[in-house]
Assembly symmetry: C2
Homo-oligomer: 127 residues x 2
Amino acid sequence: MLSNDTRFIVDWPINRVLLMNDKNYPWLILVPRLEGLRDFHDVPREQEGAFVAEINHAARTLKSITGALKMNTAALGNMVPQLHVHVIARYDTDFAWPGPVWGKQAAVPYADGEAERLIQRFIQSAE
Amino acid sequence: MLSNDTRFIVDWPINRVLLMNDKNYPWLILVPRLEGLRDFHDVPREQEGAFVAEINHAARTLKSITGALKMNTAALGNMVPQLHVHVIARYDTDFAWPGPVWGKQAAVPYADGEAERLIQRFIQSAE
């Protein structure tokens, strides 16, 4: 999933930031570039602060550029064991609202240029 | 939901720790005792470290006493707007595996004494 269903956005000091290729929801995946992590609590203490700061910076930025009502921040990883954190912009008009987004409907890939525009807005706003 | 469907476990410096009254999954809810928070990234920076340390301590403790395969750590809050973090012990034999637990089946309340025993084990192991 992590490489097949996503687009690369940027590498931050701790996390690789990916965009889920599903235009149903503006949806980031943050993957810490550290070996052998599975659970959220597996991040070493000395990196925990920077790890969480990046997750929160990603969430604030995505909320700001999308005007989302609510952000969902979640580390599940039952299907893909490598630790990754979902940061998802939610609206009370989205398909899955108010339920979680997983497993509700098939992903709808972005059309040509749409993902690139969102990625560029994210990178510029996150600076 | 937060008071009707849960049992009180303990107050930590940042979070109130609750047990979901659903024996399908060992499932904690951590609620920061701060006013006006909705998203995970709303926790003030000066409390972010302690907030996350408590979440991770809860997850490590619950994983240890339950022997779970995987922990799910998630702040969704689409239905109950007040910020709360789910810490859920997962097994590859549980009902929802490998999907998320939300909305899969009705909660099964603990029988008399069962929740109390889990709460006591959690409190002792978390010390």
